[in-house]
């Protein structure tokens, strides 16, 4: 198994140290019903500098001291306190130089919104060289809000994404100079001097929120798909969809094709760990990642996805109701009431394992249950919420000391191999082209 960890690198304040700043920022996010679009007057550069270095230091510490981790995972978001990593390649470059051992997993670069895939190919090739071939790039279309933050035409995103990824592969593998006259991209002289160390190019992993379009694209190209903390039932359905598409491509999908990201908060004390885990819900968390008008920009979704949304967004009291006429006018009491509603949902979040919090002994069976059900070869722990550097460090240490060894042992018995242990797409189908199950949905029903 490949074991790594991830954090959004949120801009936040520790409620136990700076309660008033913590409260003001959270109230603003709730007033906006959105992290994206929070006015940047709330950004304090000195505080930002402290946090961004803390997040980098944690990864260097992982490389040096937490030897059971195989990698660290980065992403990027723009215009939001949700994520300080606005340009993840900058962080990846720092880590490439400062670390010696771990894989640097970028899930993923927003090809369409970056806009210049040749520049992206050069940045990533440099990171691969500096790191000595430890780069795992991934590609994303970017959240809806990223289209606004980067002013990229959302209706062209899918075309730009697909042509952009192919272009990057070509830039790395086709001897230059060559000319590219595509549909959306035009380069008259492609000849990047700096090429990746890994040949023919670094392995790609693709993160997603279980969009069938993306899973199908991955299955066709034999790229592992990493589900980002999605609920288990729909994730199982997507695994099945991927495996079916893989079978049509003539191969048997397996653990090497799948990854899963799981929010955790692990500590020495059960009660305290659960309390810290609750902070993942800060500001409304994913429900307030961005308002609907920013989540679903024009033309970003396929026709089929728009049809599904049409059913969801037109009932009474749905998130699709315009909010901008009412937000910003609420009293402090109303904001507090919204917060109470958000945090009162925490028991269900724990029950649904959207957050697994507790001592190692308590969390290990739950994490092993996920392995049993989803059978992923890639597993990423996710640490987030306004939690102090000290508590985060302890969480990582406990994962390293107790949790990963237990999960590895469990995963070994299940045959969970990573893409580094078995090449994705290299397993033949069974006799008569029949493919074997890639997950274990029955295990979900059993007690744990």
């Amino acid at each position: 198994m490949h074991m790594m960890w991830f954090t959004e690198r949120a801009y936040h304040y520790d409620p136990e140290v700076e309660p008033e700043k913590y409260r003001l920022l959270e109230n603003q996010v709730i007033r906006e019903r959105s992290f994206y679009g929070t006015p940047n007057r709330f950004f304090d550069a000195e505080h930002g500098a402290k946090l961004i270095n803390q997040y980098l230091d944690e990864k260097v510490y992982t490389d040096e001291e937490l030897l059971n981790f195989d990698g660290v995972m980065l992403n990027e978001h723009h215009g939001t306190p949700f994520c300080l990593g606005a340009v993840m390649d900058v962080e990846a470059a720092v880590l490439a130089g400062k670390t010696k051992r771990i894989k640097i997993v970028l899930l993923g670069n927003p090809v369409a919104t970056v806009g210049n895939p040749l520049r992206l190919a050069e940045e990533l090739a440099m990171i691969d060289l500096i790191s000595g071939g430890r780069l795992v790039p991934g590609w994303v279309r970017g959240a809806g809000s990223e289209q606004f933050a980067n002013n990229t035409n959302p209706a062209l995103n899918r075309e730009l994404f697909e042509e952009g990824v192919d272009f990057i592969i070509n830039a790395w593998t086709t001897p230059g100079p060559f000319r590219h006259e595509g549909k959306r991209l035009h380069f008259r002289h492609v000849n990047p001097w700096v090429l990746p160390l890994q040949k023919p190019h670094p392995p790609f992993w693709i993160p997603g929120l279980i969009s069938p379009d993306t899973a199908y694209w991955c299955a066709k190209r034999r790229y592992p798909y990493v589900a980002l903390a999605t609920k288990l039932e729909p994730t199982l359905e997507l695994w099945h969809f991927y495996a079916e598409a893989a079978a049509r491509e003539g191969y048997q999908a397996g653990p090497e094709n799948f990854g899963y990201l799981q929010p955790v908060m692990i500590g020495d004390n059960q009660e305290r760990a659960e309390e810290l885990g609750k902070r993942l819900l800060f500001g409304g968390a994913f429900a307030h990642f961005a308002r609907p008008e920013w989540m679903f920009p024009p033309g970003y979704n396929s026709k089929a996805a728009t049809r599904r949304l049409a059913q969801l967004e037109t009932g009474p009291n749905t998130s699709g109701k315009p909010m901008f006429t009412t937000t910003g006018e609420e009293t402090e009491e109303q904001i507090e009431a919204v917060k109470n509603r958000i945090y009162s949902g925490y028991p269900k979040v724990l029950k649904d394992m959207q957050m697994i919090a507790g001592t190692p002994d308590n969390v290990i069976p739950k994490l092993c249950k996920i392995l049993e059900v989803l059978r992923p070869g890639i597993f990423s722990f996710w640490l987030d919420g306004p939690v102090s550097a000290k508590d985060r460090k302890r969480c990582l240490e406990l994962i390293n000391r107790d949790v990963i060894p237990a999960m590895r042992e469990y995963g070994k018995n299940l045959g969970l191999v990573s893409p580094f242990e078995r090449k994705p797409g290299s397993r033949p189908l069974g006799p008569d082209g029949v493919y074997a199950a890639v997950s274990n949905p029955e295990a979900l029903a059993e007690e744990y």
Binding site: P298, A310, T314, P322
Partner: protein, 264 residues
Amino acid sequence: MASQEWSERTVRIAGINLPVIVGGRGKPLLVLHDELGYPGWFNWQRALAKERTLFIPMAPGFGKAPRIEWVDNVRDLACVYARMLREEGLENIDVIGFSFGGWVAAEMIANYPAQFRRSVLVAPGGIKASKGDLMDLFLVPAQSYLRATVLDPSATAEFSNLYGEPNTPEQYELLEDARAEFSRVAWEPYFHNPSLPHLLEGVANQSVLLIWGRQDRVVPRSVIDTYYRAIAGSKLVMFENCGHRPEIEKTDEFVSEVRNFLGA
């Protein structure tokens, strides 16, 4: 009622079957719809249909109309419509364009001034606002934009009939399709073409009527002023207490102005 007044047919153009709403009698009048799609059949159409045959193409990619993959901007679309008029034998006809449709009509005029006999541009986009901003359709939910297009939805009888039954999955999908296609052709630069006012300056003796509501929140006055200055001989009519949709907000006055301008 409505089915007796109009019918839908398809026109084969540029490799697709383009749905066209046709209704009324008399000389043909091309009607180009706005950026949210074809809103439906209203009293202003009912009135004009008594003496004109309204010919209302769905813009490719909007609603039921298939997308034309190589149409990347509004000038491309203007050229598709010009080709359609040529192939349908509808050259030198009159046109009314609303908002986005007004922009398309203006592009057609700039490309080939003799294409239209007379043109009515109702709150047309297409030119950069020198003062204020064209309201951004993409920063707000479609329903919010829709409400902003009239001065007072509750005082506008036909408002709730725009784009079919309100707040249904069908309407949501229709508006999202429109936003998607409008994004393809008008995301950047938003809702305008920098060369359009310059090309319109070369247009002489063009019979153009500009109509604008003084409380239009979508298209600022400065856009209309630029049109008015650029097109020599154009006529400008402004309605008081009126937003972006004079055709339903001030139907009687609108019909009267259009009728006078086009001639019976």
